[in-house]
Subunit: 719 residues, 2 copies
């Protein structure tokens, strides 16, 4: 690199500062402020934006236009401070478009959004161009996130594919990388301006300051971009590397300001397609997807681009020259992880950038559920009823905490990790269970015991979700499985919402049958095959409404040789190595399974419901949901089995099926149940309410449940 | 309240904006910029500060001076935006003083510091006036936090007490609340300016913007304060409430800008003491500590005060009028939780403020270990060697992760909860153990079994530390105990640093003896008394260097009736309800204890060290530390016992002592050990290195350990 030209740069700086002041004074002198006219009625005046030392952009120098390496990036820092244009009025809605496909990018979008929401002070409208996977993940996520003043619209990437699929492309983002080109067409015609973001950027400032830069656009400018901070387009990084045409180092498309209105007027679609076709006559596929094409168009029409200060897209690619941008700036605005190495990128200040990224990766997203002061926002669907229900809770009620927990809307991130749905098979069964961090070590064993699909709900903090991700990545057993769907339900409140978690996992099961298990059980190695055969044999699909009971056992040993057959299991039972489940503490929970009969049984046999029965069952996916009022420890499964019985499910015990509970320390919720009489009193109250609801739903036939409840032994130790 | 005067306020706004512009232009026209002269040599120019809509302060109106309620606070919002004075040069050190006493305030200071460090861009020098408890906690914390560009100085509150102890005071902060008055005297004479903060404030912006407000001070102004946002000083909140004298609503001292140089010159000490004495002739004790006195002085000398924009101290007290300050401001700068109800304060926007606070409460403090770009900072003690050692690690080494973990400096927050040190007793024993979140449920049982002092290291994230706090508060058993010291070691890295944790807990034990236990063991109910009696009887203190062995047993049952005597224990052993510890998996670990002999023993008996021996022992507090190279699972205790033996500790088994291991699921580290051959290979390598070090330290006498290691059975299954 050439030595940096300090004197020249300083001169330019002084000039720019004076120009900036004129801009600031302008409205006062002339009385005309274009931004002011766009203000919402009644919205208060907003002051000139933050005038920290913004690095003033320049259009590339002649030298750069000729492809010469230059001091360009270095110069940027030395430029003095340009005053910011006025911030948009505080209630103005800012529009953001993001293209997102697949499981991994969906996780990236969440982190990006956390950083954006942390600093934002304006209402936002997100325009998400997604494939089916991201649509489903982000749809659920934003629906349950319930962030005030954030509107989300989805656009189907599938429909846009024909527009761009003809372009040969070698970039790792695949076809989706090119979709930014068709946004003027895809987004609503009424939308005039939008900020377009890559999924791998992190905000370190208020996006309103970026939006404010639209005001810098001249009448002809339509695209705001930051110059590339690598020499890629200069073509001297690799031998035989022939980059697409660009002005100097070209521009990076990780952060784009688009004047959609002007682009449509200027015939953008026509324009980029013509350029792309022309370049493709002499050059091979695009290497950097949309970015190559944006740059080629800009090279032909330099008047379209407005260069943005480099702090708005600090690029941490390999060979980055970004240091020239930020080394003397104290305000970094947007970090762009545009190396395939992402967080592992080698960079002098990598730690600094990583810490900023990790801040949001682990940030508790529910803290972003905060109102924007003074901007009337459309209430979120259901939010008002929820607020009312919460406000009506009585803090003196011994069940206050339970009821509060039941009403809590947890953020849900379904299929947190890559997942391949199982091919449709008529008798297939998904194992359904839920867990928190302290049961993670069960997953490998479970995978060994159950070769079929699983749908698991994990109750985690945002930070724990990342630990979980690393845990799976580090495990060859877990990372080999694409048929295990992990759904993260984010922690909120002090009680474990066991039934809400079960319902999330159940709702995401994709096979016609589900095995409703618990995470501390290991099924017989043969269970998956055996269940599918049994379902077929019993013709469950066609006529019978049945719940297949999988008899439950337990071992009290840490190390224990898992029985490979019913015969082996019976031997272990006889030698006292195994017991029927909760034999010592609560035999009523499984007594109706009739273990004595099971020993000899050769064919499935029917058993009758009895009070406190809580077997592990296989049922059709459309079975009743779990009652979310039961949180923490106690009665959560009992109530579900009761409802199955009320709906006249046959209870059929399978003669060759078994599952074994492994020992673990009591959970915190269980300790609490044991030590608190309030807890037990509340559980009794909830049970009574459940019975009342059952009577209401099922009439006289539900009377037997009430009678069972009133038997003294059931009250004495339940559960 | 009177209707808000919109037209008048807007007029004032326009005027201020013009004035602000003049200020901005000033330096260009005159060439003189007072800030510029203070810049560090070579420091780059810093742009005019952020000019978001700062709420312009006014000195209270005449009406307010007469004590009339006014539209004052409302007015502040409507004032238009005053340009900020220039930010201090980016490498200028900003000085912050905080008075802090006790365990709870120390926790508050950490949260305050996290918010401050998150937004700061300048080097900081903290001046902490502390009692002995806070000195010890915060000293350790900042020492291990290793935040670049943060210098911390401590001042002994004890020494300052005589200056203020004569003032009668009813505020909950006690005497410490008054210490802010003596800061001009207590802080170094060379220190000219300081920002003084209460421990219950949260930053939402860069403190440099607050520091910049010093530039607004006139020549006579010495104290910058925000007006009170409650009617306390108007005296109309409660019947018979006679507040101290103040201008209007008075000022709040949660955030103060002090010109120490001018205060010293003006004879501040004299001034406030005279005023305080005079007021005390007619009025009772101060209700609001220092604040009453600051206000009384200001009432007499209004020229001393510079009113600051109210966003710099948004007060969430009861009856707060703060909404008038922030409702139309999008930028809140500092939140002040100045209600005794703290987070539970009822406030329309409580959720918003709570979320900001919770953000920092749960924020991973290690992410704040980030360099300030372009400011040369003094390297932290030890930081350079650490960097070098880390840089020299070989990523290909199978022990890379182990070595990295060993070199990790964890933040340590000792005595995280209130703690009363045990009175000095010559034979007293502290139980020492470590745990993470998944063993929290052991604490209550442990407290029931061990009535003596404990020193426990907890390996937690910042967010988990808060969960832990709530767990203790919710438990009557735990919150009744003041003799249990909880030391939080913050998580960093993927391996459990078991021996580092043990060393933290060990270093904080305050009795002459320690019982080195593990968290999943419950000691005999009588053990605490029995150990003290044994220590006395064996005259350990005076002559013998001994390790008393507490024989270890285990149960495989969840529920289990704990034996109340050795006789009962032996019965349970005979019926197979209890086993000697790890009888099935690893009998070598405890075989030298000689359980057969123990059954019959009436007096302590000596045993010999053997390979892989890892008993639970009682030793003097000054025993060797654990070797930190052993992280995760494996060999961590074996190495320690070997070192005790090398130092010729007698191993004495106590005939009536016992401790019992309770069942739990294997930890993640253990699962990893079992599944990874790399992990086992690395452990072998570490063991060999440990032996080499042992030979180096103890010479030929350490040869026996090497021989033991080379026995094949020891390699085959260790540990």
């Amino acid at each position: 690199m050439l030595p940096r030209g300090r004197p020249r740069a300083l001169g330019a700086a002084a000039l720019l500062l004076l120009l900036g002041l004129t801009l600031l004074l302008g409205p006062f002198l002339s009385g005309g402020d274009p931004e002011r006219e766009r203000r919402e009625p009644g919205g208060p005046a907003r002051a000139p934006g933050c005038a920290r030392c913004l690095l003033t952009p320049r259009v590339p120098s002649d030298g750069q236009l000729r492809g010469e390496p230059s001091a360009g990036l270095g110069d940027h820092n030395r430029s003095a401070c340009a005053p910011q244009p006025p911030l948009p009025p505080k209630c103005e809605v800012l529009h953001v478009a993001i293209v997102c496909a697949g499981h991994n990018s969906s996780r990236d979008v969440v982190t990006l959004m956390k950083s954006l929401l942390f600093y934002r002070k304006n209402p936002l409208h997100l325009h998400l161009v997604t494939d089916a996977v991201a649509r489903s993940i982000l749809g659920t996520l934003f629906h349950t996130w319930m962030v005030p003043s954030v509107l989300v619209s989805f656009y189907d990437a599938q429909e846009l594919k024909p527009q761009i699929s003809w372009i040969p492309n070698k970039h790792y983002s695949g076809l989706y990388g090119l979709m930014k080109l068709v946004l003027p067409l895809a987004l609503p015609p009424s939308l005039a301006r939008v900020i377009v973001l890559d999924t791998d950027v992190t905000f370190a400032s208020d996006i309103a300051e970026l939006w404010a830069l639209f005001a810098h656009f001249s009448d002809k400018q339509v695209i705001g971009l930051v110059e590339n901070q690598s020499d890629w387009y200069l073509g001297n990084l690799w031998k035989n590397h022939r980059p697409w045409p660009a002005l100097g180092r070209g521009f990076n498309t990780g952060v784009i300001l688009l004047r959609l209105d002007r682009l449509r007027q200027a015939g953008w679609e026509q324009m980029w397609k013509l350029t792309a076709r022309r370049v493709l006559l002499t050059l091979p596929a695009t290497s950097l997807a949309d970015q190559d094409i944006f740059n080629a168009v800009i090279k032909e029409h330099p008047g379209l681009v407005r260069a943005l200060p480099c702090v708005w897209n600090v690029q941490l690619s390999d060979h980055t020259l970004a240091e020239g941008c930020y080394s003397e700036a104290s305000d970094l605005k947007v970090i762009h992880w545009n190396s395939p190495k992402k967080l592992r990128v080698k960079n002098k200040h990598a730690d600094f950038f990583r810490n900023l990224y990790l801040t949001f990766l682990g940030y508790d997203g529910k803290l972003l559920r905060r109102e924007i002061f003074g901007c009337p926002s459309q209430p979120l669907p259901g939010a008002e009823q929820l607020q009312q229900a919460l406000a009506q809770l009585d803090e003196e009620d011994p069940c206050f905490e339970f009821r509060q927990q039941q009403l809590t809307v947890h953020r849900v991130h379904i299929t947190f990790l890559p997942h391949e749905p199982p091919p449709p098979r008529p008798h297939d069964v998904t194992l359904v269970a839920q867990l928190s961090m302290d049961r993670l070590q069960m997953l490998e064993a479970l995978c060994r015991h159950w070769p079929g699909p699983m749908s698991l709900a994990l109750y985690l903090t945002d930070a724990e979700a990342q630990q979980f991700l690393h845990f799976v990545e580090a495990s060859p057993v877990l990372s080999a499985r694409q048929d295990v769907a992990y759904h993260v339900v984010y922690r909120d409140g002090s009680l474990y919402p066991v039934n809400q978690l079960r319902n999330v996992a159940l709702a995401q099961a994709l096979t016609p049958y589900v095995f409703l298990s618990d995470i501390d059980f290991l099924p017989a190695y043969s269970l998956y095959d055996y269940l599918r055969a049994s379902i077929e044999q019993l013709e469950l699909g066609s006529r019978r409404k049945a719940a297949l009971v999988v008899p439950a056992f337990e071992t009290l040993r840490y190390r224990f040789s898992f029985p490979s057959s019913k015969a082996e299991l019976l031997d272990l039972l006889d030698t006292g190595t195994l017991y029927t489940f909760r034999y010592h503490e609560w035999p009523r929970g499984h007594a109706p399974t009739d273990y004595t009969r099971w020993r000899e049984a050769q064919v499935p046999y029917r058993v009758q419901w009895a009070a406190d029965y809580e077997p592990y069952v296989v049922v059709p996916r459309d079975c009743p949901r779990y009652d979310p009022r039961f949180v923490g420890f106690g009665w959560n499964k009992v109530a579900h089995i009761m409802e199955l019985d009320a709906q006249e499910y046959e209870l059929l015990v399978l003669p060759e099926a078994f599952t074994i509970h492994l020992p673990h320390a009591p959970s915190l919720d269980l300790s609490r149940f044991r030590s608190s009489s309030d807890y037990r009193a509340c559980l009794r109250a909830l049970k009574e309410e459940f019975h009342q609801d059952l009577s209401r739903s099922y009439g006289a036939s539900a009377l037997k449940y009430l009678t069972a409840l009133q038997q003294p032994q059931s009250q004495a130790r339940a559960p």
